[in-house]
Amino acid sequence: MKNCEYQQIDPRALSVSPLSAQSHTEKKEQRPRRKWEVFPGKNRFFCDGRLILSRHSGVLPLTLGLIVVTCGLFFAFDCPFLVKHLTVFIPVIGGALFVFVVISLLRTSFTDPGILPRATLDEAADLERQIDSSGSSTYRPPPRTKEILINQQMVKLKYCFTCKMFRPPRTSHCSLCDNCVERFDHHCPWVGNCVGKRNYRFFYSFIISLSFLTSFIFGCVIAHITLRSQAGKSLVQAIQESPASVVELVICFFSIWSILGLSGFHTYLVASNLTTNEDIKGSWSGKRGAEESGNPYSYNNIITNCCVTLCGPLPPSLIDRRGFVPPDEVVPAASTASEMELPHFSTKNDVNMCTQSTKDVLERMINSGSQTLCSPGPPKTTPLVQGLPSTAALSPEPPPSAGCSGPLGRRPTDSRCPLFSRSREKESLHSINPAFRLASPSPSVTRTAKTLGGAADVSFMPLQPGSVGDEAP
């Protein structure tokens, strides 16, 4: 083999194509877009992608409002009396707690919880190929799970049909946000975001500090009313003098139970290195009796578990919200608007293996005159594929909200299953094409490629079976 030296270039520069077919789509995309603008999940972005929130932001304004109003009443009505009769540290401590609570809350709400970006088309196609090749010997539909061994414990990895990848361990797909989130705990309506790997410590500090704040305010208000009624007045008179205190009492009384309960529950989870999701599903308990030996992620030491969960290294956001979308990047599993653009994107031959297989198909046509590869008839894997909806119905997991004791019940399983089987059919049509090989193309194909040149893409585009543009919305 001749020794050729390739000059490495920036992969982004590769995708610039001279094809004019692309120019009309580019006209409306002159301004380079940031990735958050084309993000496929159900999220809202602020400050040009710096802050992320779920589209189902739940009752975040209510949470903030309750905290601000209660503390406002406390500082306005209770503190003057208490400063006079007790100590000046009361508003200081109250103020510090309030600031800490609000910062933790905002941090939890506006931080990326550990969203996994969806697989690129090439990755998804490669996985398809591996799944089809490994499970094609029997008629049984591929189960779309992978079993791996983690610390001598069998863990099942499920395939996510939305994100087109096998979910890493402890990752779950939130149907409200339509994202796979690492170390998924739950979707909290009170903070308006999922709680996952990256914001669990903020969430924990929020509920712990909120417990302290509510207990503190509760105690101070009780002290206030007691002191007032001790000074020769009755209780009713004391309440009449300071009606705001009653409001605070009521709010704190009702929140204390839930907040303290939640704090206790999450302290238990932190100490045993569990997530709410795992605890509710009973993934590890009951398998061997003792919880510690069941959970493969636990370090079997409370202190270590706490340190790892709360003080461990904070991984960066994987979704690169503020990065720029490369000019011709194919957006995987996006919303319907960008799906329409996919057929145009697939004309680019640089980063698209579809074109390579098309050239192989062309070569076979030339050589054998075979009809089977060209006809869009149903492949023999169709029965296999249509068996998928039953597994597809099970795999997207509804996020449990019990951890937040919110009114949000369990969402029904993904209702897009029938559509998935259609899109699956098209993808397997593509992937079972024997021309779809990862090995180096044969010299004959290369010759064909040379003669066809760039025009091949445009003229043979209809041959591409359905193209992944027909993705389910």
Binding site: Q8, S104, P313
Partner: protein
């Protein structure tokens, strides 16, 4: 004399021959590690030792990023005490190591992979799911 092909010349004619994806290795839990198994598609392109060396180094770097040591605990506690506002000012240890990894991948691409018609993509661009190796078509055979 070795021919130097600019990759810009190749892109018009099916420059990308194939892509190989190195998946994650979860046997040690959720730590970021990649499989070191040598993929068959690269057999003709690169030396197995070289490839495994690259993978091992990457795995070690990721392990360093996620290492639970006194440094990470101090960072975590300090962050908690400052209500996590300290992350607005300083870079976390993880981010520093990720920069090191990016530089290493760039260096490997320049020295080892590009001369063989391969390109490593930083796994961070793929959500730390896979290491994507792009195999470029060898145009020398067709000219």
């Amino acid at each position: 004399m070795a021919e130097t092909h600019s990759l810009q010349d190749l892109r018009h004619q099916a420059a990308v021959a194939a892509k190989v994806f190195i998946q994650r290795d979860y046997t040690n839990g959720t730590l970021c590690q990649f499989q070191t198994k040598f993929p068959s598609e690269l057999e003709t392109k690169i030396d197995k030792q070289q490839f495994e060396e690259t993978m091992r180094t990457l795995n070690n770097l990721y392990a360093e990023a996620e290492k639970l040591g006194s440094q990470s605990y101090v960072e975590g506690c300090l962050a908690c005490l400052t209500a996590y506002t300290i992350f607005l000012c300083i870079e976390t240890h993880y981010e520093k190591v990720l920069k090191k990894i990016a530089k290493y991948i760039q260096e490997q691409n320049d020295k080892v992979y590009a001369p063989r018609g391969l390109l490593l993509t930083d796994p961070l661009e793929r959500g730390l799911r896979v290491i994507e190796i792009t195999i470029f078509e060898d145009r020398s055979l067709t000219q």
